[in-house]
């Protein structure tokens, strides 16, 4: 490419091997220890979420009044080991965290997926077609973005009632705008690119151009935003559930666990500390992975990640 005299760089961004394979990405990930550990943490979290029944050391509802309020790393009366301690009913905190992850993570994933789906459709079509439709969509986006979303979520959940499904619905309605704004910008930029003009010249329909030509080319930035949005939604879920307007009691969620533990904060700090730590680590890992994806898929930066592997070196 113009302006660069380093042969390694030229080589790495040669269009012939521009599309890295999954293996290249994994190798690049292996070189970045911090991001690799973050990705491993997220994988482990997913595994625990999916296989809670098999992987949890105790039963989530297993009351054991003899072993109430045990601190972390303690062994109960019957020789049972509690990694993170127990709560006021003698339930194992680690087990409850695993089951809580199921709720918190699926709220984050489903909420982000729905808002991404609607936001990307609205944004890409608005950016590609333009006109009055674009004006209407973007006015709605700007209007909704300038409202305080946590407060609106709180109010809507107060009206509709909390619970898993309502929470996801509210997140989808209040978070699609960020995706719409970003994809509109991407579609606007893509509209004048050669590949779009070529597709149009060949008679492709608008829908085909938007979803078969533009969308695959703008997946990377959307993926970054999607990852960040999962983190934001997990944090919001915790806040709303803590206030009693999110996930409702028999379902365990990390935010609810903090709310429950708050009553015992003077005597049993671990009941509040670990659920919050779980949220913190999950959000942190999502943020780390997002910034890695951003760096790796950025055309100006990607050679840093792949050049070494392909024998060049910088």
């Amino acid at each position: 490419m113009a302006g660069s005299s380093n042969p390694a760089i030229e080589d790495a961004i040669d269009p012939r091997d521009e599309r890295e394979t999954l293996r290249d990405y994994l190798r690049a990930l292996g070189r970045d220890k911090v991001t690799a550990s973050a990705a491993l943490f997220l994988l482990a979290l997913l595994a625990f979420t999916a296989g809670a029944e098999f992987l949890a050391p105790h039963k989530p509802t297993g009351l054991n009044l003899a072993d109430r309020m045990l601190p972390p790393f303690s062994t109960g009366k019957k020789g049972l080991f509690y990694l993170l301690g127990t709560d006021e009913l003698g339930r194992d905190l680690f087990t409850r965290l695993i089951y809580g992850a199921r709720v918190s993570v699926s709220v984050g994933l489903l909420g982000a997926t729905l808002s991404c789906f609607f936001g990307v459709i609205a944004g890409l079509t608005a950016g590609y077609y333009g006109g009055l439709y674009e004006d209407l969509v973007m006015r709605l986006v700007d209007g909704m973005l300038s409202l305080p979303s946590l407060l609106v979520a709180l109010f809507v959940l107060f009206i509709l009632g909390g619970g898993f499904a309502n929470l996801i619905l509210v997140f989808a309605v209040l978070h699609w705008m960020v995706f719409a704004r970003m994809s509109r910008g991407l579609a606007l930029a893509a509209r004048s690119k050669t590949y779009v003009v070529a597709a149009k010249a060949m008679g492709a329909s608008g829908r085909r151009i938007v979803f078969r030509h533009i969308l695959p080319n703008v997946v990377a930035p959307i993926l970054v935003l999607y990852t960040l949005e999962i983190a934001i939604l997990i944090l919001s879920e915790a806040s709303l559930s803590f206030l009693g307007f999110g996930v409702q009691p028999p379902d365990p969620s990390w935010g609810l666990m903090i709310a429950d533990g708050r009553e015992h904060i003077r005597s049993a700090w671990w009941l509040v500390a670990f659920p919050g730590l779980a949220i913190f680590l999950t959000a942190l890992c999502l943020n780390l992975v997002a910034s890695w994806v951003r760096a790796v898929t950025d055309p100006a930066q990607r050679w840093r990640w792949f050049a070494i592997g392909s024998g060049g070196g910088g």
């Binding site: 944090l235 009693g244 935010g255 904060i265 500390a273 919050g276 959000a283 943020n287």
Partner: protein, 320 residues
């Protein structure tokens, strides 16, 4: 000028839509008279209240009356505060005006938000500038880690942990309350954590962009002292993304205060919102949500105006 005017009109429209949405949504959840008097109320009392409050009128008329009242500064009366007898005649004689309840709470929220921003802005600016001045040094890494941690942490959980550490274990500061300077320390620190991280991140990347530009090379070549290059040349040019971020964080802080006020029993508007939601005190909910939305919209508007003052080259209203 037309642009600014258009922005203001848009904001007012948005506010009207929000207030109306809240009004109609509150009517959706059931009979307001029943909500006011509680499930045990008898039919005669309910009917009296409906007649007194005009609840038998068509909904649109009630909406017109409500909006008209808002314009005249009449925000309605609270159902819960000072409301012991069943109202027979005029509601306004018995209930506490909402406007008083909300106005009473605003100073506490402003104080909290002000102190939090007074901590966050200088710290975030300082950390970002240092990180950009020494890229890839230990300080830079530390700032990156801290700012990532700041955006990943659950604010109210941080507040609880600070209570455990400083109030319960060390006994240095009160667990909550209002009135003395010591009371503001923990809630303000809790609220400041996130903006510190976000501001530092934005300052760092904006400064790195600026420091790579030719005018910085020129300044250095002329022999301008490095601190002048960084603080007077680059920082000034990096101001726009920084101001945007500070504005964003200020509006996030106004809503974040809801949880923090709850944790620390800080008697601001956030605590009022939570309390009235759990008591279904609809008049207060309607007004306090409108007040917070107004504040957030005003902050957004001010940020837009600030652009124009900082950088006359920006032509507002043009699509990017």
């Amino acid at each position: 000028m037309p642009y600014l005017l258009k922005r203001v009109i848009n904001s007012v429209l948005l506010l009207l839509i929000t207030v109306s949405f809240v009004f109609f949504a509150c009517r959706m959840i059931g009979d307001p008279a029943l909500n006011m008097l509680g499930p045990g109320a008898n039919d005669i009392a309910l009917e009296n209240l409906r007649r007194a409050a005009g609840l038998n009128d068509p909904l649109w008329l009630q909406w017109v009356r409500y909006m008209g009242g808002l314009l005249q500064g009449d925000f309605g009366v609270s159902y819960r505060y000072g409301f012991s007898v069943i109202p027979e005649a005029d509601l306004k004689d018995i209930g506490v005006p909402v406007v008083d309840l909300v106005a009473e709470r605003l100073p506490a929220t402003f104080l909290l938000a002000g102190v939090a921003m007074a901590i966050a802005v200088p710290l975030g600016l300082g950390m970002g500038v240092i990180a950009a001045a020494y890229p890839r040094h230990l300080a830079d890494r530390l700032v990156t880690v801290l700012s990532l941690a700041g955006v990943s942490i659950v604010q109210f959980w941080l507040g609880l942990m600070l209570i455990v550490l400083f109030a319960v274990q060390l006994g240095l500061l009160p667990t909550g309350g209002y009135g003395e300077p010591a009371h503001v320390v923990l809630p303000a620190l809790t609220l400041a954590a996130r903006p510190i991280g976000r501001i530092a991140q934005v300052v760092r990347s904006a400064m790195l962009d600026e420091l790579a530009k030719p005018y910085v090379v020129t300044a250095r070549a002329k022999g301008v002292a490095e601190w002048r290059v960084i603080l007077l040349h680059a920082l000034r040019n990096a101001a726009i993304p920084i101001i945007t971020m500070i504005g964003d964080e200020l509006s996030a802080l106004l809503t974040g205060a809801i949880l923090v006020e709850k944790i620390f029993a800080w008697p601001g508007i956030g605590l009022l919102i939570i309390d009235s939601l759990s008591r279904s005190d609809l008049p207060i909910i309607q007004v306090s949500i409108a007040v917070v939305a107004t504040l957030v919209i005003i902050v957004n508007l001010l940020v837009d105006f600030a652009y124009r003052i900082i950088d006359p080259q920006i032509q507002l209203g043009r699509k990017a």
